[in-house]
Symmetry: C2
DNA sequence: CAGGAATATAACCGCAAGTGCATGTACTCG
DNA sequence: CGAGTACATGCACTTGCGGTTATATTCCTG
């Protein structure tokens, strides 16, 4: 099972779901409509997210409130860390920083 | 084609390759041995990375030096950004920050 | 020019993932 | 208790991915 956060985020629908849950908990119905998929399809993605620990469910009668649990994203963030300094040409920012230090 | 950075990083072998290239450019042979895959298998992953813009090739006779091009990772970083404050209980850091501000 | 080294591409295979459809389950309400 | 709502699960199907083996390509070297 691709319970790995990286694999889970590979699917755009799943990223979309997480983005929606960032705002507030949602019902399956809402998510289904939002991502334009069948209800079972949505449920399947939610299952994957659940097994990856990225969401939790709070049942309320027949309804299920899905909420975000962002902790597993830390793994991705950690992997990304050693790369982060590389892309944004920090030359300007660095220069500005050094200039500032000179000013002081 | 899953030229999307997210899809590309879904495979551990590809992440491993990037990690190796973070240190220095490498030949296909090195990478092949490092990730314990067949040479064609490695070449395939390199192709995916190439098409995603995550690596570039510098030919030298029959050899190909692969080097890292981390820019596309910025997209992932950007997606991750609105989540980043959430997991690390920044309560302490935030408190310290506010304390500092109070001091000034 | 022949042979070998380094890599890419092609052809093929197995399997898991994503999707739709149909059905099951759990709960509410009249 | 029966019907409807909200969601999960099962099944069938298709596609694409990751892997290997075999082959083509390119270049160096003797």
């Amino acid at each position: 099972m691709s319970s790995e956060p990286f694999g889970v985020l590979a699917d755009p629908a799943r990223r979309r779901i997480l983005d929606l849950l960032r705002e507030r908990p949602r019902l399956v119905g809402e998510l289904t409509e939002a991502i334009g998929l069948s209800q079972p399809g949505t449920s399947k993605h939610l299952r994957v997210l659940r097994e990856a620990g990225l969401v939790t469910v709070r049942p309320e009668a027949q309804r299920r409130w899905y909420e975000l649990r962002p902790e597993p994203l830390a793994e991705i963030d950690a992997w990304l860390t050693p790369y982060r300094w590389m892309w944004a040409d920090r030359f300007d920012a660095l220069e500005r920083h050094l200039d500032t230090m000179d000013d002081e």
